[in-house]
Assembly symmetry: C2
Homo-oligomer: 329 residues x 2
């Protein structure tokens, strides 16, 4: 199987490539070629033979046709400017998140010759904005209140139209906030949801910009990779014309996140969380969903963790070699 | 008040201009300047002084900034490639309906200096696609099944985001199918809904490409103009972040349309309707909504006709000088 992964230098892209390298196959087919692309050339995972890495900006004319010239069977489109940056820089957000996505789909369409790859589009729960019910079912209207969410909702519409017209076989997956993210904080407004767990686990201070009663929807990086692989290999007939699905996750408050951290890593870890309210982060997060009832995705076989305890343990296993380090009190 | 009308050469644009010329004002403010734009220069209504007509393609870079350079207080954006054409010519549909709309909003945004016009965006009930409830309420998910509907849904998302960010004060109105349209059939797949009434009233044969039990949602051209004027002048505070509204209309079957025509114009008129099933029209129309419960729009003061009889009588008044002509049997 031939695979193209955009946004390959991002955290999810990297973990997806590592998982593919470990498996050596996708849906039972051995990997022939895996092309990782990002604005800076992504690192390739250890098992190099089928892996290729390239630098390229999808929003620049001519780049997407070049990347799809090898007619990959599966395209996993992760490349995006994240929420805080898309809010700060309107032009960059629309250029990367809207134009980049559209040019990728156009490159697929204009190949012709019956080419119709599976395209997995990483959407986001940010397509939903207040007012919405406390628990959001599959029939709630996407009404984003950020430019990032707007761009993802537009991507979903394009994916559905290009699928309906037979140019590609699209699956949009609305990712929960990914917790616990490894590495340094990123430019997503949701970054603190991970920092308040990750930094204390490493004995470092973390900043909490919102109040403890903020409730949100989480899944681990490992679950996100599993969503992408399932979307890349699932039978898409049951989707009908509705090609985008809200992914399962865990609904917890910041207070519950902190108490789970305490149970796993102790009071010393929790003491490293410093409260520093940030009005701009608070305003963005206030428009975000808190909990979902993702029946369609569950019925189609998508699975996430069932508790925040499981989510922290995934981090400890995948990033800390399975051991909770002693934290300086 | 200064007004820019795109799509000014279309049927609705022309009727809107005529109405403005008759009123001499909008929302109590005298007309200072009304700029009508279309790909071919629109005709100006009789009362010429404040009216100007120009040819221009919004999807061409540089055109939208020129059209908005006079900082119109109100922009009524009607320009669009219609449903059948957008389905036949994917590139043209996306270029005009998506790029044209985006470039117009961008032109407004980049003016800066606190410029924030009222922008009325003509959306469509084609943003909804099956499966949907028999009567579509205001909380049903837009899930278009045509490229035209997709492009209108994307326009609604852009309108909401640009409004939220303070660049414009947007109102999207989802127009019903406009019946009875004067003039020759157009390239909308819905064109027959008007032809089967209009052509017999003029003693000409009409073609009916779908079955008699097809139910659809109608309002007159006069009602459409009234929607636009209300959207241009209403208080937008009650809209909150949800800037697009489904307009009221009349839900009737083709059979009911025909019986209403019979009551007004007699058996001779009905005999001029020739049944000629067209699979491509049937397929498009099968994905269209049949009835709505447009509570938000009604609460905000939008009004349409209450029966198809009223709709035909509007045509007779506005296009036939109030008299039903004798029809050759």
């Amino acid at each position: 199987v031939r695979i193209l992964i955009t946004g390959g230098a991002g955290m999810i892209g990297r973990k997806l490539a590592e998982r593919l390298a470990r498996d050596g196959s996708l849906g039972g087919s051995p990997l022939e070629h895996v092309l990782l692309v990002d604005v800076v050339a992504p690192e390739r995972p250890a098992a190099e033979p089928p892996f290729e890495a390239r630098a390229g900006d999808l929003a620049v004319a001519g780049v997407a046709p070049e990347l799809t010239a090898g007619r990959p069977d599966v395209i996993i489109h992760l490349a995006a400017v994240l929420s805080a940056e898309a809010e700060d820089d309107l032009e960059k957000g629309y250029r990367v998140n809207l134009d980049g996505t559209r040019l990728l789909f156009e490159a697929v369409r204009t190949q012709g010759g019956g080419y119709r790859p599976r395209v997995v589009f990483a959407s986001s729960i940010a397509v939903f904005g207040v007012p919405f019910p406390e628990v959001i079912g599959d029939d709630v209207v996407p009404a984003p209140l950020t430019s990032y969410g707007t761009q993802k909702a537009i991507g979903e519409l394009l994916l559905a139209d290009y699928t309906r017209r037979g140019f590609l076989d699209g699956v949009g997956i609305r990712l929960p906030t990914i917790s616990v993210r490894p590495g340094p904080p990123n430019r997503a407004a949701s970054s603190f949801f991970s920092s308040i767990v990750r930094e204390p686990l490493h004995g470092r201070e973390a900043v909490l910009p919102v109040s403890d009663d903020v409730r949100h929807w989480h899944a681990s990086p490992r679950a996100a990779v599993a969503f992408l692989l399932h979307a890349a290999t699932m039978d898409t007939d049951p989707l009908g014309h509705r090609r985008s699905l809200t992914m399962p996750g865990v609904s917890v408050t910041v207070a519950e996140q902190i108490e789970t951290l305490r149970a796993i890593a102790g009071d010393g870890a929790v003491a490293l969380i410093r409260r520093e309210p940030d009005e701009s982060v608070r305003r963005i997060v206030a428009t975000w969903p808190r909990a979902f009832d993702p029946q369609r995705a569950l019925a189609l076989g998508f699975r996430a963790e069932r508790s925040f305890d499981e989510i922290i343990r995934v981090y400890v296993e995948d990033e800390l070699g399975g051991r909770v380090p002693p934290v300086a009190a």
